[in-house]
Amino acid sequence: METMLSVKNLGKTFKGKKVLENISFDVQKGEIMAVLGPNGAGKSTTIRNIMGIMYPDEGSISFRNYQEIPRNMIGYLPEERGLYKNVKVMDILLYLAELKDYPLKDAKERALTYLKKFNLEGKENVSIEELSKGMGQKVQFIASIIHEPELLILDEPFSGLDPVSQELFKDEIRNLADQGTAILLSSHQMNLVEEMADRLFMMHQGQKVIYGTMDEVKTEYANFKCTIKGKNDITILESLPEVQRVEQRENSSTLYLTKDVKPTTWLKHLPDQIMIQELIFDRITLHEIFIDIASGKKLIEEAGAVNA
């Protein structure tokens, strides 16, 4: 696999506060790489540094073998985005393509193809201000890929989209990756990322938390858990084998199990006195890992362990 983008030891300080520290990751040709993290984790700052809109205090960013990132090979959909209000859809698309030095004729063709794909056929001569918000976002997305970029950077591409449009975007992003585009996207919508990303980089407070392929992350972090509905004594649940911790909420208890647990064996060990109205046995989702990290639970536990 060819590495398209390589970020090494990125560091950035705002007003004496480290907002990025030692951030390193790669994006490879044809893969979808997701940067995850709660609001304020530093995702957009990382991306803005890659785009050369901000400059890192430490570390380096290289695109293939270029030192200076060749802007016309990169497509970018920023988090804070909009388009000029009082211009026509086709005009703005062609202008943005021209800024990327993409041939006008091809741009026109691609624009029409993508407008059709995104159910915006016939809207090319409509003024941007007449489009709905969702339509506007589709046009922004088209603008970011009109010049056939080799690396596509999408900052929160799904925010504000309805489920139908989300699917449309997801399919198209997957499609682009299959055609060989390297894709770096940031998001806080775990379910979407979980379905589509090949690798992920999770960050919190400007630092790396998890980095690896989706499978690695899942085997590493997504342990089994068992949710039991029914009134039960927490001490009994805690005394069961392979239980790391128990969370109780009203009549529902969630048992977090160790990594090596064998589901069938473990289930057989459940004592008779446990009240079970419902039982759910599944893996911790990326979403839960994310919430865990975002709310600082694990970090607090770890910190506690260190201090002890």
Binding site: R48, M51, I53, R71, N72, I74, G75, Y76, L77, P78, E80, R81, G82, L83, Y84, K85, N86, V87, D91, Y95, L96, E98, L99, K100, Q140, A143, S144
Partner: protein, 417 residues
């Protein structure tokens, strides 16, 4: 190279976008039409006045029997004159003029043949274009002069000196009359100065007004949150330069359209050879000053525009900076009353007022103060360079700051960065 190409792409886009915009197009044509409208209205009032009383009464003491010729010329050019022959002498004319309005008295005597000077006495109230209209009598008088003279060398010299209408104030007696011969043609000159000056001033004004659109355009970039998308393709400096170039071209377009509409009207209305007065070498310097003025204000506007999303949310600081282009108006009075005075010189050296004041002074002054011009040009060039740099720094950070306006202290921090 790449950067220039990028700037030009932005410039082209801004030009195209505005030329497709109805509001801009309406403004483009309506402003010259409004100018013409105002002039028409004022001339309507002027005409209704003159119908009652004030055709200019021109008394001619004709000692050369050329009255009929002059009358023909006046009729041909449709001047609004009531001509009369008179044999009043210089001293008698004084009393006569003191009690009348809009009356002029020309003495056409041997002085015209020998010296090429026609003495002109006017009442205190006189049609402001009279002294220009009177120039039209040159032709018949000159042919008379030639008739009367042989064609010897010296005499040809006399002819080539031309005829001068020497305006005499009522207070000066006949004794000082001759003394004024030398600078008698100052009024023609003043028109020759004012026309290009006014023209350059007009160009500057229209470019500055278009320049304000730069402000609009820069803050729009923030409001529409497109800056980051654009900046993924080019640098902030490219974007800023592109905007300045684009709006400069739009300003030129505005000027050209205004000129095409207004100039023929002016020529028709005032019967002056405006085109001849206009295209003189001095115009290049005047336009140069106007362009420098534009660049200075363009830099200020593009920088300030990048610090806020909406003009209505402008803070005191931004508001004050926005008023800078209007600073020269403070100097108009003092400069008119004394074009070489202290205020005029101060205004010449302050970069924000320098283009306006300089244009005004050069239009009034007969003798151009070259040293002052060069110093103030130097100041202007340095200021343009400096403000472009500052604007670049402010623009780079400000344009990406969505959702809030920059405070002066933030702006100061960006400048120092």
């Amino acid at each position: 190279m790449q950067s220039m190409r990028n700037s030009w792409k932005v410039a082209k886009w801004e030009i195209k976008r505005n030329l497709k915009n109805k509001t801009f197009l309406i403004g483009l044509f309506s402003s010259p039409v409004i100018i013409i409208g105002f002039m028409l209205i004022s001339s309507l009032f002027g005409d209704s006045d003159s119908e009652e009383a004030s055709s200019t009464r021109v008394l001619i003491n004709d000692q050369l029997n050329i009255y009929e010729n002059l009358e023909n010329t006046v009729a041909e050019r449709e001047l609004d004159w009531e001509m009369e022959l008179t044999d009043l002498t210089d001293s008698e004319i004084k009393d006569e003029l003191e009690n009348t309005e809009d009356t002029a008295y020309l003495i056409i005597d041997n002085n015209v043949i020998d010296e090429g000077v026609v003495s002109v006495y006017t009442s205190e109230e006189i049609d402001s274009f009279f002294i220009n209209q009177v120039q039209l009598l040159k032709a018949p008088l000159q042919s008379l002069q030639m008739e009367q003279l042989g064609l010897s060398k010296e005499q040809l010299e006399v002819i080539s000196r031309g005829i001068v209408f020497s305006e005499q104030s009522l207070d000066t007696g006949s004794a000082s009359q001759e003394a004024e011969v030398a600078n008698g043609d100052s009024d023609i000159n003043s028109m020759e100065r004012i026309v290009p000056g006014a023209f350059a001033g007009f160009i500057m004004l229209s470019i500055v007004f278009t320049g304000m659109a730069i402000f609009q355009s820069a803050s729009q970039e923030k409001k529409d949150k497109i800056a980051e998308i654009i900046l993924s393709s080019l640098t902030p400096a490219d974007l800023m330069q592109g905007k300045i170039i684009g709006y400069f071209v739009l300003g030129i377009i505005q000027s050209i359209i205004s000129i095409i509409l207004v100039l023929p009207f002016l020529s028709w209305r005032f019967d002056l050879p405006i085109i001849e007065y206009l295209f003189v070498p001095e115009l290049i310097l005047l336009i140069g000053i106007a362009v420098l003025g534009f660049l200075l204000f363009a830099a200020i506007f593009v920088g300030i525009g990048a610090t806020m999303e909406d003009i209505s949310t402008a803070g005191n600081f931004q508001g004050m900076v926005m008023m800078l282009p209007f600073l020269p108006f403070i100097f108009i009075g003092p400069v008119f009353s004394d074009p070489n005075g202290l205020m005029a010189q101060i205004g010449t050296y302050i970069p924000f007022t320098s283009p306006g004041v300089l244009l005004l002074r050069l239009s009034i002054l007969e003798e151009w103060p070259w040293i002052e011009i060069i110093i103030s040009l130097a100041i202007l060039v340095v200021s343009v360079w400096l403000f472009m740099k500052l604007a670049g720094k402010i623009f780079k950070v400000g344009i990406l700051m969505y959702g809030k306006n920059a405070t002066p202290s933030e702006i100061w921090k960006w400048i120092r960065a």
